[in-house]
Symmetry: C2
Subunit: 367 residues, 2 copies
Amino acid sequence: MKVACNGKDLCDAVTRVIKAVPARSTNAVLEGIKLTADDGTLTLTATDIELSIEHMIVAEVAERGETVVPGKLFGDFVKKLSSQTIVLTANGSRLKIDYERSEGEFGCYTADQYPEVNRIEDTQHFEMRNADLKDLVNKVAFSVCTDDTHAALKGVLLEVSSADVTAVSTDGYRLSKCVKPIIATTASTSFTVPVRAIMEISRLLSDGDDTVKLYMHKNFLMVRVDATTVTTRLIDGTFVNYRQIIPQHFDTQVYIPKTLFDDAIDRAVLMSRSDKNNYLVRFDITQSNMTVSSHSEAGNVEENLPIKTDGADISISFNARYFSEFLNCMNCDTIVLNLTNATSVCVVSPVGDREDYIYLVLPVRSA
Amino acid sequence: MKVACNGKDLCDAVTRVIKAVPARSTNAVLEGIKLTADDGTLTLTATDIELSIEHMIVAEVAERGETVVPGKLFGDFVKKLSSQTIVLTANGSRLKIDYERSEGEFGCYTADQYPEVNRIEDTQHFEMRNADLKDLVNKVAFSVCTDDTHAALKGVLLEVSSADVTAVSTDGYRLSKCVKPIIATTASTSFTVPVRAIMEISRLLSDGDDTVKLYMHKNFLMVRVDATTVTTRLIDGTFVNYRQIIPQHFDTQVYIPKTLFDDAIDRAVLMSRSDKNNYLVRFDITQSNMTVSSHSEAGNVEENLPIKTDGADISISFNARYFSEFLNCMNCDTIVLNLTNATSVCVVSPVGDREDYIYLVLPVRSA
């Protein structure tokens, strides 16, 4: 392999694909980035087996070929080169890198040691607006299960119908559900995408009115944006039947100013973090006031928020972090809590957005 | 103690003093911040015994007194309050904090458990321009010894004479020396300031033409800038006799473009970091070219820099990090290396700045 390319392009390409390089792997070759020179292009590929990212740049190819360079070292080295022309020459287990009057040389792996990255046929796909997909990911990714014992919940369920896509995530204690319109789909389908992959896809997307196509094939999902391709293995196993969990009727609705709620929860998280009570926060709700209180050995906090309540007074306790993570993702003036009693699930939404997004939280039985 | 103050002022005060709070201490009260309400002011004090920082804000004092709050928790809590009025009420081992319609409460220590912060008499002092002190600290702090077995070298030696101050630091392998003019002094003196303290003092200083007075009393140094006072214990023990280390005669001078040198060293650090050779970089110097090369198991780098040499060709090896740290602090176009042979100390300076600043580095005997 011998190829000349622009240093800035190469640096940009490394930055994009390196996110798929596993920090540590028992298989050292996976800590590498594969370089493939072919037909006027240089393609960089990184994968942790589950997630793959490819990025293609324009290059002057003197000799086709491929090699695998140590990802982190190559990335750090390339970042230190300015936008001059760089010539990469692979020769067995060495890669030579020439720039200006100087040269570097890396030990590398041969490409046949690198795993095959799954290619997806251009078959099933659905299309939606970038902004809708980004908002969807923002609103559900935070409540994905992080526990290895529930592998089927370590991603976001996407249910694609003819008109919209429903995204759901849950860790067993809370659940987010967000519905967004789609532009078109070749089929109604549902599958679970690993949370890391869907977040990488979301980061790729530009703002504005662009749209994105998500391709599905066997147990893979693929998205191509400009010169970057992200492919991910889907999660096996059955997602929980979330529909039967979501209550349809509530006794009390509580309307809370979002900013004040956010500040009060932040301070409750601080005060309760040292405690064995595990971030316990208590809401005492009357017709026009909600007291948000938290107690620990370090100290106590008691905040009074002006609210509007439809229904009976109620006292209920939660894990404060579950609210803090939810509020961080919201961009609205008012939050509504839908409650039944101190032991039933609470359904939270941004006001005026009910159909689009709901967040369920289980209360904590306080001592 | 009962005192009302502005939330933003309080938050700013905590941010300033918390730098003196030790991250971990066997004496838990040192992880606190002392609050002292007196005569229309609230003073916050933090200390790790060696370094103390005090900051005073305007306050409405309803009842004088003092207490010690948990530093990190109080700081995080106050940061979450907006610029409203905050009322602090200490009562035995509790501090109540009222804001808007809400309140928090912390467990705290009584002030008599907190160490006495040393007060300095307004006696000996010297005065210099802020810009000179900041530049001085920037140019010598990086080469201070970090090794506990050389306690006397864990700071910056300041030698104050009638016209200027000489700052010196060394870790045994390299030495920085910087001379700056002073405006006035009450005495010629010399002492060693812990590096953390002198860096905190430097950070306090505004840019521009302001000047700063440094007060010395017994084994303490004190600086007051606006409402903030930094006091530090000085380092006992004798600093090395650095004058006899600095060679006065050299055989070869090498003039190197700073930016190219910096980039080459950066890449040499990257390539050599994985190696048992400990960041070894080799300079092969001829009349108009310097080859900067580094070799490790991970790979090799060989950079050619256009230089100008006065004197004989020479090859010499160094720890690349010693150059990278030095170059990070320099703001100039050209660096000059003064060399004698491959085993003698190298004296480096920014060109045109020779009298003001020199940096000595010991070479490494390469294999």
